[in-house]
């Protein structure tokens, strides 16, 4: 009979003692449980759980104190918020959701411990051995290519002259008066491609453009640029010059997230918001991310260029909504195959991470010198760990600007992961990131969020 390998992370204060209680009471609990004692269920980071599945666990059980009884007040609240998000992500990636379970066991509840562990062990036994590791998984005879609808939403040509003029005029004003030291906007390459441009003097302002290819999210440059500014010499007033940035509505949401995460402060930047009807993708048609975008006017700005428009949704459901629905309907094994076939051609160039304005850790967890959470190799398993981990780190933060997907040289639909989590978080927390300067609810604990008992 198949004996599942189950790893149980047990909170030292409640569940681990609960396991002892079960033992003293001579209650029967499954022998295939490998218990790992942790200080708190809040310590069990999603990376740890992903690593456990990577290493071949058939099931992972996390047991903590009941809500309201945490030794550290809110540690288990963190677990309660994080793990369902992780479960959604792993399930979307092709792991059966039942293989991960979070529950509460107090020190006196030996019986409850025995019941939950037996139940979980039986559930995993019924699921059979895990096929999470790419190598050695059974060939999916009936696995089908998930249909990716190829639909192009027409891009409507707009006259951009007024907006280009507006941006240039404001840039001239800001740079001449010395209100900003540098303005980050869009320019054109000698090949005629639209790309980020850094403007330092009013004479250069005419290099700025606004057109249908201003896809880049320029707010990603702000954090580094401000840090470099701080290292430079202050001006005669002893302060550092501000930085101006041109943003679309989606980019403006990024600024709110950066502000909420204290990556920059409002006085350091001058935001030129530009109204937007959506950007064009290479080869025509509306950009993937723009199809379901509702914002037409930036949510934060100092100067607005263009007439504010009421929010309109171009299309009731975007192509990515349809793919997500299709994936949700598929069996876990099919989802697994879908994602492995996509990650297969990832080259781990980190373009997605580098282009992401919210991936701003000084050292990425997945690029450390030790191989604690992921190996250095450019193999299928490592690439999946990186992508799923990155998606998790952006849960509740991602604003859906789609820079990751646009930057990907291999056209991997990475943003589906982010979108899936954004929908989940909106459902659970009623929260959409970046609409206001507020930290993501999945990383914060507010007083009164959970009632005792």
């Amino acid at each position: 009979m198949f004996e599942p390998k189950i790893v149980a992370f047990l909170c030292s204060w409640c569940s681990y003692t609960g396991a002892d209680t079960a033992g003293i009471a001579r209650l029967k609990s499954p022998a295939n449980l490998r218990a790992i004692r942790v200080p708190c269920s809040g310590r069990v980071s999603p990376e740890l759980i992903m690593r456990t599945f990577d290493q071949g666990a058939d099931g992972v059980l996390v047991l903590g104190c009941h809500i309201g009884e945490c030794h550290y007040d809110t540690g288990n609240h963190r677990a309660a918020k994080r793990l369902p998000v992780l479960q959604t992500l792993l399930s979307f990636g092709g792991l059966e959701a039942q293989r991960l379970r979070l529950d509460w066991v107090s020190a006196s509840e030996g019986e409850r411990f025995a019941r939950i562990t037996t139940e979980f062990s039986e559930t995993v036994r019924e699921l059979g051995p895990v096929h999470w590791r790419p190598e050695g998984r059974p060939r999916q005879e009936e696995s089908r290519d998930l249909p990716i609808p190829s639909r192009t939403i027409l891009f409507q040509e707009v006259d951009f002259t007024l907006r280009t003029e507006g941006i240039r005029a404001k840039a001239r004003e800001l740079l001449t008066s010395g209100q900003v030291g540098c303005l980050i906007g869009y320019g054109t390459s000698p090949r005629g491609r639209t790309r980020p441009a850094f403007i330092y003097s009013s004479e250069e302002s005419d290099r700025l453009v606004w057109n249908a290819d201003c896809t880049h999210n320029l707010s990603g440059y702000l954090v580094d640029k401000l840090a470099a500014n701080q290292r430079g010499h202050p001006n005669e007033n002893g302060s550092h010059l501000r930085i101006g940035v041109v943003v679309k509505p989606c980019d403006s949401r990024t600024i709110n997230v950066l502000l909420a995460e204290n990556q920059l402060s409002r006085e350091q930047i001058h935001v030129i918001g530009v109204t937007c009807e959506g950007m064009r993708k290479e080869g025509g048609g509306l950009q993937q991310g723009c199809v379901s975008c509702q914002e037409r006017t930036p949510v934060v700005y100092d100067t607005l260029v263009g007439e504010p428009v009421h929010p309109v949704r171009q299309c009731s459901s975007s192509q990515s909504d349809e793919i997500i629905a299709e994936l949700d309907k598929a069996r876990p094994a099919e989802r697994l195959e879908f994602w492995l076939s996509q990650f297969d051609h990832c080259i781990r160039c980190y373009a997605c991470r580098q282009a992401c304005p919210l991936c701003n850790c000084p050292t990425c967890l997945y690029e450390r010198d030790d191989s604690t959470y992921v190996g250095m190799g450019i193999g299928l398993n490592e690439k999946r760990t990186f992508h799923l981990g990155r998606a998790y780190h952006l849960a509740g933060r991602c604003v859906g600007c789609n820079e990751c997907e646009r930057a990907c040289p291999m056209d991997i639909p990475i943003s589906l992961l982010n979108q899936k989590l954004a929908v989940e978080i909106e459902k659970t927390f009623g929260y959409r990131s970046g609409l206001a300067v507020a930290p993501s609810p999945i990383v914060t604990i507010l007083s009164g969020e959970y009632k005792e008992g």
Binding site: A197, I347, R348, S371, G379, A407
Partner: protein
């Protein structure tokens, strides 16, 4: 530049003949050709000519990945009761690659300069080179970012190929370049002709600055300015047919079992030149991006002792994939103009 000899004997074949010949090859050994992999064109094994994409487009990744794979296991290390067991893992497969573009084959020659011609030769790379036959395909037209003619290549350059196929009218001209190629062609029995294929001409010519210009402008502010938009990702290096930096690490496989892997690395990454103590000699992204161009046009020619051989094949892939429009041809032109 070694132009094909106009009097060389080539063989005229039709599309059907080429297809059935490729099917024959695929039945005997691994045939790799441009294939559609979930919407992306890549060099991947094909079962027959039917799987090769129509028009044999140029893949997103160069053939580099087939000789110098993104990740390669060098050793398997096992702890035994009496000591340590180390096993080298050398590639064994016999492979034919069809549809290699001249820029890619040239890239392979440049990789040879470091992996094969410089002692000690790299055994993994050497084994793959020896086991692989390259069948090239001359370009019918130049792509929007191609500039091979500016860096010493040509759309019909046979450098590095074993055999080259030129599109000619509705058919193809096949010409053997190396001994491997001659052996392959001899078996076919295709009739010999002496008509050469005509290569498209490039209109874009970019200057390649002299060594002195590179040396003289190393400390210019230009590099910090031009790199401001750079994201420090590695897309340009990984799609490049000649970027060849790697990193080696021992990874644990299980209790008492390890593997030593080698995988791609790039000077664009922030960790690339970090040394013990945390010092980073190339802390600024301008310094890192500058290195990419200096490596291609100054360091590499210096390393192999040939001033005419830049490590750029003009394939234009880096220009295509850069998410923020960094353009190597723009840098060449700018450097030529700098005071």
């Amino acid at each position: 530049m070694s132009k094909p000899d106009p009097n060389a004997k080539s063989r005229l074949i039709s599309q059907t003949e080429l297809d059935s010949w490729l099917d024959g090859l695929a039945s005997k050994q691994t045939l790799i050709a441009p294939r559609d992999v979930s919407g992306v064109v890549l060099y991947r094994p094909v079962a027959g000519s039917g799987e090769i994409l129509a028009g044999v487009p140029r893949p997103v990744m160069s053939v580099k990945e087939l000789f110098f794979p993104p990740t390669e296991r060098l050793l398997r290390i096992q702890k035994t009761r009496t000591g340590i067991n180390v096993k080298e893992t050398l590639p064994e497969d016999q492979t034919i690659i069809f549809g290699v573009r001249p820029c890619d084959a040239r890239g392979v020659r440049l990789l040879d300069a470091l992996f094969l011609d410089t002692a000690p030769a790299d055994p993994y790379y050497a084994r793959r080179r020896a086991n692989t036959t390259l069948i090239g395909l001359a370009c019918r037209e130049l792509g929007p970012t191609c500039f091979c003619t500016s860096v010493g290549g040509a759309p019909d350059d046979p450098t590095g190929m074993d055999m080259l196929v030129y599109p000619a009218g509705s058919g193809f001209l096949a010409e053997a370049i190396s001994e491997k190629g001659h052996a392959l062609l001899a078996d076919t029995g295709w009739p010999e002709t002496v008509i050469g294929g005509a290569a498209p001409d490039s209109t874009d010519h970019f200057p390649v600055p002299e060594k002195g210009r590179w040396l003289g402008h190393f400390n210019d502010d230009y590099w910090m300015k031009m790199s401001e938009r750079c994201l420090s990702c590695r897309a340009c290096a990984y799609v490049c047919p000649t970027c060849r930096c790697f990193s080696v690490r021992d990874e644990m496989l299980g209790p008492g079992e390890f593997e030593r892997i080698r995988c791609w690395d790039s000077c664009a990454g922030e960790n690339y030149r970090r040394v013990a103590g945390g010092h980073r000699p190339r802390a600024e992204k301008g310094e890192r991006l500058r290195n990419r161009f200096y490596c291609k046009f100054l360091y590499f020619p210096g390393q192999i002792g040939r001033s005419d051989a830049s490590a750029c094949t003009g394939c234009g892939r880096c220009i295509e994939v850069c998410p923020v429009g960094v353009d190597i041809t723009e840098v060449l032109q700018d450097l030529e103009r700098l005071a």
